[in-house]
Amino acid sequence: MTGQKLPKSFSELAPFVAQGWALATERERVAKRCSSTMEELTEFYDAVLPKVDEIMTYLDALPLNDLPEDAQRLLDLTFSLAEASMSVERYQQPGVVDGFDPERFLPFSPFGQVP
């Protein structure tokens, strides 16, 4: 998705879309997490975390399998939040501490689904 728009009530999160946090696939989100600094991860985490409930209330009123583009972007942002939370809440560093190389742990889709 190349657009940048978020649903109107969440326009204050627009800077994080501009910084490239709204990503469609797990691989892109892992790469973004691992190439960000703790400052960037923390800033993103601090901004989105307090909005999660509001975001879910908004998105749950829409059909999950047919989300408008701006709503999908918002959901993708929360998926990146899940990644960032691992760095901020648990590891105190971007990647897993003493972890296996994520490049050797590759997502695939036996059921042809889920990016």
């Binding site: 797990e26 975390l49 999660v52 409930d53 879910m56 998105l59 749950d60 829409l62 999950l64 989300l67 709503a71 959901l75 929360t78 998926f79 939040l81 899940a82 990644e83 939370s85 691992m86 809440e89 648990r90 590891y91 105190q92 897993v96 501490v97 003493d98 972890g99 296996f100 994520p102 050797r104 742990f105 590759l106 997502p107 695939f108 889709s109 036996p110 059921f111 042809g112 689904q113 889920v114």
Partner: protein, 408 residues
Amino acid sequence: MDVAVDGNGKRMETDYGKRWTQDYPELGTDPVPVASRLTQEYFDRERDTIFSKSWLNVGREEQIAETGDFFVQDIAVCKASVLLVRGKDGEIRGFHNVCTHRASKLVWGGSGCKRTFTCKFHGWTFDESGQLVGVPDEDGFYCLDKSENGLVRVATEVWNGFIFVNLDPNPKESLQEYLGEWGERLADYPFQGRTTCYAYQGEINANWKLCVSAFNEGYHVPFVHPMSAPETFRSKKNLFCRPIWVKLYPRHQTYSFYANPDSKMTALEALSAKYGPIVSSGPLGCPPGANPAGDPDWALDANVVFPNFFVDVANDWYFTYNFWPIAPDRTFYQVKSYFVPPKTASERFAHEYGRVLLRDVLLEDVETIEHTQLGLASGVRSHYILQDSEILIRHHLKTVENHVENRV
């Protein structure tokens, strides 16, 4: 109450002091030889006595839900490739993925949906039931009977939606017999409804048995997962993640992991838990077959099917591991987690949270495996010293040995 002693010699009370090994005296308590079981020679015997003769999980029936849906499963240790296809009659069949003309590999990999399979080499064509239905320039052959030259079948059976194959042309028992009491206990677990799957795969530079033994004990948890799961699976009552239940079947195994009911969730974990499943959601509405001890402080059960398949069941989701030997020091793995398909964005978010947390925990686990392989390869240590919580490792190595020594 029993007593456990921490790494600094401090003694503390525990509710989880049962010595499971005492229930299985035939396993003994001595150190277990392991270095001698990582050789090419041992690997070849494992191929002949285990992987060529056991029921091996290759996937779920939902992967091939429609007529003509297929996937290919290579079984490198046996130099085999199996083509699994859903037939017109709804039946799932397995075939050696080998053309009957000049034995080329028929389907070169992957998955999809086809009514017929045509060999790339000279165009011989087989239908979804394996029949040879087309031979280009058939007149040029001498007494070719198409009905005699369909694809070679591989024994294929389905248990609770899980597809298993057996490379033995005449398996000595059915899949149901093979799974036995283990299978009966999990007969009613609701695998069927959990069809949203997040999967990972790759290669580990280690023996397949080391991969199995990284996931069937809790002793490592405080040391390998101190940041990702600091108190999820342990508490003052159970400092070292002793199991809350262990059952060893003749070949298969179950190990119930403890959950700390007072574990403090992180901020995002707590939000996610409002919307969907978390790993330690306790026995509320505990599905049939899970949490056999009925312990209120239950997290999940590791259910290990000999030789290389795990079905780990939690309350609202489950996950599987398959470990496929490639060489004495190389293993291909697949990890899949399964959820009820999300109906809302918030449920989808909770799945993503669980997927990311599990993935990072597994990255910690997998990292230990290659270090163990390297340590054993140095030849300095020939045996494992195993404690009670590591009883499944003792049992797995013993079961492998019984096969290799032709005692089964």
